[in-house]
C-alpha cells in the first residue's frame, strides 16, 4: 500500500522544500506547508476509512540483516495509530494556519515551517512504526525537531537554554528507554515488534521501568518534568502543537504500546509516578503568572492523569480529548499574546497580571477559551468529562490494582486543583479590569480568520457532543466503538462525584480570584545543585586529573628519561671516558715532568747524572 508511504514522507518533502526555498520565499513556504499538511490529512482520513477494523493492518519490510537476524521496519495501522495519524495531521494543519498569521512578520519563516514539517514527519514515524527500535529512532528525531523549534529564536538566550535543557532531559529518559528496548529484544525472543508484546513475556520490572523512562522524559513525568515549562520559550503555536497536543503524548503512546508487558509491580510504580506528576503539575500551575506556563504545568498534570490511565484505552481517550482542548487553550493564549503584542508597546505580553477584562475586547477568543477550559476541568457536556471519567472508571472497576484508593483520591484531588487554577486563570485574563496601563485597550483586536478558524474548530471539538450523542455517558461515545472495546454499563455516580469535586475547585478558584500566587521554588534549583553543578565540577576535576596527573606522569617519565640520559652522558664522559682520559692525563703529567728534565741545559744534565750516580751508590750500599 503506497498511501502509507505518502503519509510518512509528505511532511519530509515539506521540510526539504522549505529549507531549499529559503528566506526569500517565506510566504510561499507557509502556504505550501499548509497545503501539504492538508493533503496529508486527507490521505490519513482515506487510510482510516479504508483500513479501520481490518485485521490486515501490518506491513513489514526488511531493513538489513546481521548474522541471520533480520532488522525490519514496518507499518502498523491499528486503531491507536490511525487515530494518532489523523490527530497529528489535523492539529498540525490548524497550527500551521494559525502560524501563517502569528509568524507573519518573522524573517525566518521558512525555517519555522520547515521544522514544523520535520516534526510532523518524525511524529508520524513514531506512530506508524511497528517496532521499538525504529520508534526509538523517530523518537530522537522528534527530540531534535522540538530542540530546533524551542530554540527557533536563537538569539534569545533563554530560548536556547530551554531548547538545550529539553533535549538533554529527554536524552536522560531516552537512555533508559534504549536499555529497555535492548531488554525487550533480549527477553522477547529477539523481536521488538509491537504486535508481539503480550503479558506472557517475562520482562523484569526494572526493564519495564527503564522502558517507561522514555515516557518520563518525553511526556514530562516527574522527575524529568521541568523541561516542559521552559519549553514555552518557543513560539506559541509550537507549544500548542508539540508541547501540548502531540509530541508530549508520544510517551503516553509508548506506554499504550508496551503496557501489555508490564507486571503489576511495574504498573503500580508507573501509576505512582503519574499520580505525583499530576499533583505536582497542578500545584505548580497555581503559582504561575505567565499565561503559557500555567498551561504548560497544566499539561504536565494532564499527562500525569494519562499515565494514571496505565496505557489502557482510557489513556488513549484522554490523550485524544486533551489534544483538542489543550491545543485550543494554547492557540487562544497565542491569539491573546499576538493581540497584545500588536499594540506596539513593549511589555511582557504573557504576564497574566498585565491582562484582565479581555472578554470585551476579544469575545470570540474568550468563548473558545472558556469552552476549552471547561473541557480541561472535566465539567459535564465537555469532552474532558468523558475521558476523565474513563480513567476514574478504570480505577474503580479494577480492584486488583494495588492502592487503588490512594490513586482514586489523587485523581479527585487533581480534579479539584485543575478546576481551581483554571477558574483563576480565566478570571485573571478575561474578567475584571484591564490592568496594563501602558496599553490603550482600544488597540486590542481579534485576529483574522487564520487565527479564529483553528481556535473555533478546537473549541467545537472540545464539547462532549462531538464524541457521542449523549455527552454525559462515557460508554456511548463513538470512541469506544472505534477502539473496539465494549465498555460495560458504568455507574453514573462517578460522573456525579467527579463533577462535584470539579465544582468545588471552581468555587474555590472564584473565591481567591483576586489573589495572585507566585514564586514557588521549582525543582530546577535543586537539579542545578544536585546534578548540573556536580557534573561540571567532575568534568573540571577530571580535566585537572588528566593534565596534572596523567599527563604530568607521562611528562615525568619523559623527563626521567632525559635525566637518566643526561646522567649516563655524564657517567660516560666522566667515568667511562674518564679512565682512558685519566690515563692520558697522568701520562701527560709524567711526560711534562720528564720533559722538563730534557731542557737542553748541560748543567742540568750533569747535575742529574750526578744525582743519579749518588742514588745508585746509596742504593747499592744500603741494600
Amino acid at each position: 500500500m503506497p498511501l502509507i508511504w505518502f503519509i510518512l514522507f509528505t511532511p519530509f518533502i515539506g521540510f526539504l522544500t522549505a529549507i531549499l526555498l529559503g528566506k526569500n520565499r517565506n510566504a510561499l513556504v507557509g502556504w505550501l506547508t499548509v497545503g501539504l499538511t492538508a493533503l496529508n490529512l486527507a490521505f490519513s482520513v482515506i487510510l482510516l476509512l479504508q483500513t479501520i477494523h481490518t485485521k490486515d493492518n501490518h506491513l513489514i519490510y526488511d531493513w538489513f540483516t546481521l548474522n541471520g537476524k533480520a532488522y525490519q521496519f514496518g507499518f502498523l495501522f491499528d486503531s491507536p495509530t490511525l487515530m494518532m495519524l489523523v490527530l497529528v495531521n489535523f492539529i498540525a494543519l490548524l497550527v500551521e494556519i494559525f502560524s501563517l498569521e502569528y509568524m507573519h512578520d518573522d524573517p525566518d519563516q521558512y525555517r519555522y515551517f520547515g521544522f514544523l514539517s520535520l516534526f510532523v514527519f518524525s511524529m508520524l514515524g513514531i506512530v506508524l512504526t511497528d517496532n521499538l527500535f525504529v520508534m526509538y529512532g523517530f523518537w530522537e528525531l522528534v527530540g531534535l525537531s522540538s530542540y530546533l523549534l524551542i530554540g527557533f529564536w536563537y538569539k534569545k538566550p533563554e530560548a536556547v537554554r530551554a531548547s538545550k535543557k529539553a533535549f538533554l532531559m529527554n536524552r536522560i529518559g531516552d537512555v533508559g528507554f534504549l536499555i529497555g528496548v535492548f531488554a525487550v529484544y533480549f527477553y522477547n525472543n529477539y523481536s521488538v515488534d509491537i504486535t508481539t508484546f503480550k503479558s506472557g513475556i517475562n520482562l523484569p520490572t526494572v526493564y519495564c521501568l527503564l522502558l517507561f523512562c522514555g515516557c518520563i522524559g518525553k511526556s514530562a513525568q516527574f522527575p524529568l518534568h521541568t523541561w516542559l515549562p521552559d519549553a514555552m520559550e518557543g513560539p506559541t503555536p509550537v507549544s500548542a502543537l508539540i508541547h501540548a497536543a502531540t509530541m508530549v503524548v508520544a510517551g503516553i503512546y509508548l506506554l499504550i504500546r508496551v503496557q501489555p508487558m508490564f507486571g503489576i509491580d511495574a504498573l503500580t510504580i508507573v501509576a505512582g509516578i503519574g499520580a505525583i506528576t499530576m499533583l505536582l503539575g497542578s500545584i505548580y500551575a497555581i503559582y504561575q503568572t505567565d499565561i503559557k506556563k500555567t498551561l504548560a504545568y497544566s499539561t504536565v498534570s494532564q499527562l500525569g492523569l494519562m499515565v494514571l490511565g496505565l496505557g489502557t484505552e482510557s489513556s488513549t481517550f484522554h490523550l485524544l480529548t486533551h489534544a483538542f482542548f489543550k491545543a485550543g487553550l494554547f492557540l487562544s493564549a497565542g491569539a491573546i499574546i499576538h493581540a497584545l503584542h500588536h499594540t506596539g508597546e513593549d511589555f511582557d505580553a504573557q504576564d497574566m497580571r498585565l491582562m484582565g477584562g479581555l472578554k470585551k475586547k476579544m469575545p470570540f477568543t474568550f468563548i473558545c477559551y472558556l469552552v476549552c477550559s471547561m473541557a480541561l476541568m472535566g465539567l459535564p457536556l465537555f469532552s474532558g468529562f468523558l475521558s476523565k471519567d474513563g480513567i476514574l472508571g478504570l480505577w474503580f472497576d479494577n480492584n486488583n490494582l494495588i492502592y487503588n484508593n490512594i490513586f482514586i483520591a489523587t485523581i479527585f484531588l487533581g480534579i479539584i486543583l485543575t478546576a481551581f487554577y483554571m477558574t483563576r486563570q480565566v478570571w485573571m485574563i478575561f474578567f475584571g479590569e484591564f490592568r496594563n496601563e501602558k496599553v490603550n485597550p482600544e488597540n486590542i483586536h481579534e485576529g483574522s480568520w487564520k487565527i479564529k478558524l483553528p481556535i473555533g474548530l478546537l473549541a467545537i471539538l472540545s464539547t462532549g457532543f462531538v464524541f457521542g450523542l449523549n455527552p454525559l455517558s462515557v460508554e456511548h461515545s463513538w470512541f469506544w466503538n472505534f477502539i473496539e472495546i465494549d465498555l460495560g454499563e458504568e455507574s453514573h455516580w462517578i460522573g456525579i462525584v467527579s463533577t462535584s469535586f470539579a465544582l468545588i475547585g471552581v468555587f474555590a478558584g472564584y473565591l481567591t480570584r483576586h489573589k495572585v500566587f507566585s514564586n514557588l521554588r521549582t525543582f530546577d534549583v535543586f537539579y542545578q545543585k544536585i546534578f548540573v553543578e556536580p557534573t561540571l565540577k567532575i568534568s573540571d576535576y577530571l580535566q585537572f586529573f588528566d593534565q596534572k596527573i596523567i599527563d604530568s606522569f607521562v611528562n615525568f617519565l619523559a623527563d626521567l628519561q632525559v635525566f637518566i640520559a643526561k646522567f649516563i652522558g655524564w657517567f660516560d664522559a666522566k667515568v667511562i671516558d674518564g679512565i682512558p682520559n685519566g690515563a692520558a692525563y697522568s701520562t701527560g703529567i709524567i711526560g711534562r715532568i720528564t720533559r722538563s728534565a730534557q731542557g737542553g741545559k748541560v748543567q742540568l744534565y750533569v747535575a742529574l747524572a750526578f744525582l743519579g750516580l749518588i742514588s745508585l751508590i746509596l742504593f747499592t750500599i744500603l741494600i
Binding site: L66, R161, T535, Q543, D551, V554
Partner: protein
Amino acid sequence: MSEASDCIQHKKMPILSLLIFLPIIASLILAFTPERYVSYFKWVTLIVTGMELLICVYLYLHFDTKVADYQFLEQYDWITLPLGNLGIGSIDYLLGVDGISLPMVLLTGIVMFVGAISSFEIKEKGRGYFSLYLLLSGSIIGCFIALDMFLFYLFFEFMLLPMYFLIGLWGGPRREYASIKFFLYTLVGSIFILIVMIGLYLSVVDPVETAVQMGLINSGADVTPQIISQIQSLLAQGELPTQQIVHTFDLRFMPDQGNYVTGSWLNIFSENHIGGISLRSLSFIFLMIGFGIKLPTVPVHTWLPDAHVEAPTPVSVVLAGILLKIGGYGFLRIAYPIFPEVANQYAVWVVGFGVLSIIYGAFNALAMNDLKKMIAYSSVSHMGFVLLGIGSLTSEGFNGAVYQMFSHGILSAMLFLLVGVLYSRTHDRRIDSYQGLASKMPLFTTMTAVAFFASLGLPAFSGFIGEIFTLMGGFNSPLIPRWLVGVAAFGLVLGAGYFLWTLQRMFFGNFWLRQYEETLKDLTVREKFMLYPLAILALVFGIFPHLIFDVTHQSLAELLKLF
C-alpha cells in the same frame, strides 16, 4: 585456510599493491620535483588521492559479501632464510582484504581525499608537505591490507615518520612537544606489539610451506586440507624435524592453534608463566596496550589532545579519521583472533576500559574551552564504544564496533574540518571567543549542527548505528555486567551535553567576537566540497546500515566462531 592460497590471483591486476604504491611513488616523484612547480603539487595530491578513492570504491563494489575469507589476495615470497635449529624464517609480501579491513580501506580513501582538499590551505614548504602526505596515505593503506604481521608492523611503524614531520613542521606553537609526544607514545606501544610479534613468529608454523619443505607437495598451490592436518598432527606430536619447520608472520595461520609448535612460547598448551600470568595472557595484554595507545584508551590517551591541537587541520583530520582506527583494527585483526581464550577471559576488562574512555572522555570534553581539544576528547569518548563492542564478543558488538570506527572516521573528519574553517578565519579556537555565529555564518552553523547532532548519535546518522549496536552487544553479552552498559549509555547524555552546550555558547545568542574580524565569511566553495559529501555520507550510512554490515558480518561471524 587452505582455500586462501588457492585464490591467489596471479593473472589479475595487483590492485592492492597499486593502492599502496601509487601514493608512495607519487610521493617520491614530488620529493624530487623542483620547487618551482610547487603550485601544482596540491593538484597532484588531489588527483592521486582521488584515484585511490576510486580504487577503494572499486574494491568495495567488487567485494564478495557472501565470503568470509580474504579477497584480492596477493602473495609473494619476500624473505626466506634458514635459521638452523630454529627452522626456516619466511616473510611474505602478503596483501588481502576481508570484511574487517574493507570498511577501513574505504574510509581511508574517503578521508585522505577530503584531507587532500583541506590541504589546499597549506601555504609553506609545499613540496615536503605533499610528499609526506602521500607517503602517509600509502603507509596507512598498507597497514590495513597487510596480512603478514611483519609487513603490518613495517607499515605501522613507517606511518610514524610522515606523521611526525607533518605535526612537527606544519603544526601550531607547541608542535615539537606534540610531535615528539605522539612519536614516543606510539613507539612505546609498538615495542609491545613487536615483542608479541617475535613470540608469535617463533611459535607459529606455516603448514603449507613446511609441507613444501618436507617434499610432501611441490608448491603451495597443491595444498589440500589433508596435508594441513597431517602437518598439524606431526607438529602436535613434535615429530617435525626442526630444520624443516617454516616459521611465518602470516596472520592467516596464527588464529589456528594447530599451527603452533609444541612447547613453544605461545602454544595454548604450553604452561609458560611470567609472574603468574601465562605468556598468552601477557601477549594479549601487550597487544591491548600497544593498540590501546593508538585507539586511544584512557589512561594512555594524553598524546591525542596535544597532537590534535598542534597538528594542521588536514593532519588532524587524518589522525582522527583513520589513524585511531588502526587501534581498533589491530584488536580485531591480531589480538582477538590469535588469543581468543584470553580475550574471553578479559572481556570485562576490555569493556571496562571502553566504558572508562566513554565517560572520562566525555567529562573532559565538557570541561574544554578549546574547540579542537573538545573534539579530541569526544574522539576518546567515541572510540570507547569501539572497545565496548569488541569486548562484548557478540555479533552486534563486533559489527557495531567496525561501524562505529567507520562512522567516527567520517564524523571526526568533518568535525576537525569545521574547526579548521573557523581557525583559518580568526586564528582562535577558544569557545568563549565566539557568540552568535549563526547570524553571520549560517551555512557553517548548519554544517556544524549537522556534525554535532550526527556525533551525539542522532538517528538517521551513522553514529547512531555504531553506538546502538555496540551498546546492544554489551547488553546481550553474557560476559558483561549490565550496569556497565548502563554507565556507557550515560555517555550518550554527556555527549549531547557537551555538543549542545558548545552550540549554545558559540553559535546562538547575539553575535559577538573577542577580536573583530572583517574576514569572517561563510563557507567557501572548497569548504563546501569537503563538508557536504561527508554530511551526505554520514546520512546515507545512517539510513542504510547494510552498506557496511553486509560487508563486515561474514568475516566477523567467522571470527566469533573462535570464542
